[in-house]
């Protein structure tokens, strides 16, 4: 088995979840790397979209902005923010790929602020950007986040991006489009889905080298467990080779993992 770091693991797992022919909106960094890996490995016709207007580029290198010229490199279309978001709202986009500063048991995300006072936050973060829209309007939201008790919290400081809100049918009742919501949460320790009824975060597989106990003790809320919890398949030689040589040779994303 090859050695790999946590970021490489998360990107490889995420890539396996993106099917050929699907549409996915990604941001810069790890989500983009995952989409590029999927495109080069098993999903040559994965259609990658960027919220500023890039449609189906063949990415030469990873963009540094979701609006930079690489996002339309050999693309099918250079479009607009409204057009991409309206395509999502119309139901044409399968996956949104997001991260965040905090996540709760229903897959709601915070990327706006840390602290208790909106007018004077301890730390101001960028805000929704397109994240809230994409998680509202795409069919399935995928989240990649390193796991610890600060990030996986029982209570968000600010709900920027809707998951299953308060669980059960609350998402649909709120007015958000039917049949949408968080699909997978991929961490350095495990892969989670969501229970069909309660909509609580449920561990599907544990990553190599981690125990059930560790996964739970690095999460600030009680996790549910699937009936069968497998070990996540580690990154293969081919996946790692593509990731290191063709997608992120500079180590801008995969070099970051500690």
């Amino acid at each position: 088995m090859s050695s790999y770091n946590a970021m490489e693991l998360m990107i490889c797992i995420a890539a396996r979840n993106l099917q050929d022919g699907a549409t996915v909106v990604v941001g810069t960094g790890a989500p983009c790397a995952a989409a590029m890996l999927a495109q080069k490995r098993h999903a040559p016709n994965l259609c990658i979209l960027f919220e500023a207007g890039g449609v189906a580029p063949r990415l030469p290198t990873m963009p540094v902005s979701v609006g930079d010229s690489r996002t339309v490199s050999n693309a099918l279309m250079a479009s607009s923010m409204s057009d991409i978001m309206e395509t999502c709202q119309r139901g044409m986009v399968d996956f949104a790929f997001l991260g965040g500063a905090q996540i709760d048991m229903y897959g709601n995300l915070n990327s706006t602020l840390l602290g208790t006072d909106y007018t004077k936050p301890d730390i101001r973060l960028p805000g929704s950007g397109g994240a809230g829209d994409l998680a509202s309007l795409c069919w399935k939201t995928m989240v990649m986040m390193p796991q610890d008790t600060r990030r996986f919290t029982p209570r968000l400081d600010f709900l920027t991006t809707p998951g299953y809100l308060t669980g059960g049918r609350s998402r649909e009742i709120s007015g958000l489009p039917k049949g949408t919501g968080p699909h997978r949460v991929i961490t350095n320790m495990a892969v989670m889905g969501f229970d069909n009824t309660s909509r609580r975060m449920t561990v599907l597989s544990v990553n190599p080298g981690y125990s059930r106990h560790t996964v739970q003790s690095h999460c600030g809320f009680e996790l549910l467990w699937a009936d069968t919890v497998d070990q996540t398949e580690p990154p293969g030689v081919e996946e790692l080779k593509l990731l290191r040589s063709a997608i992120d040779p500079g180590g801008y994303v995969i070099g970051r993992a500690g």
Binding site: P60, S69, P162, G175
Partner: protein
Amino acid sequence: MLTLIKHKNDTHVSLPEGSNPLFMDPDPDPDAARLFFKTKSRALVSKVTTVKAAVSELVQNGDYIAVGGFGTNRIPTAVLHEMVRQKKTGLGFAGHTSTHDFQILVAGKCLSRVDAAYIVGLEARGLSPSARRAVEKGTLIMTEWTNATLAWRIKAAAMGLSFLPSRSLFGTDTFTYSAAKTVECPFTGKGYTALPALFPDVAVIHVHECDIYGNARVKGVTVADQDLAKAAKRVIMTTEAIIPNAAIRKNPENTFIPYWCVDAVIHVPFGSYPGNMPGLYFSDEPYLKTWLDKEKDETEFQVFFTRQILETENFMEYLALNGGMKTLSDLEDLELLAGKEGG
């Protein structure tokens, strides 16, 4: 019907109405907008001017500003700098993926209120310490939005309407701290968030080429600029090149913004620097990193910012200060290389 949702832990309340201020200078009244646009000049006359004159004449203290492009892509840097030099204050700002543009105007203390969809960050490059300090101290009045809802607010204005319905924002604190409301569809009974039209006082847009009247073309992603040019009361346009009107007339299908939207045309080569200009030059990543590094220390940053913007007379001096043609030619190479590698 829309339902009031309350989290078990009581903090997250999704109300049918956002509680933060709607900055009223972008008046959503469509008849008020029509009365304004009734008076806007339709004359096919040259609008060529200078950055100094455009900012002095078209931007008043307290105006609501929207910046075209996407933070570090196709941004009108020269005009942003000039707003700082002319000490424009009390400006409102539409922050849809605003990155280096927000960084400049916050550091120049130009802004008082912000519609925030994406602020204080520079995407993959990290957060801006200076912009964070300004927001965390509570020096700006803020209202939350998302990139799509801000784009649609501008679109509503471009359409001459007072709002557009959307399916975003539901269930979030972003909604609670927005100025959105909710409406019920008269046909289906579905609930929608209602997004008030945003008519900025001034839009500043950088383009690849336009004629002296402001008929403009761009390459690459268009973000929200076409709607922005229509929605804004006044448009300042900087351009990489001024082309003959005959070239516009030969291929009218390529016109992205028509002349009647535009109030000022200024020839500013490399005008998006240090940002990216699709097909021409890439962003100056080392420079943007230097800026972020300098921001860590407030005093050191003030020296840097003063030297870069307040002590440069104009955009040409600023470009020269940062490496001039050598830097720009390298960025041209980088951009062409990025385009070719995709195969």
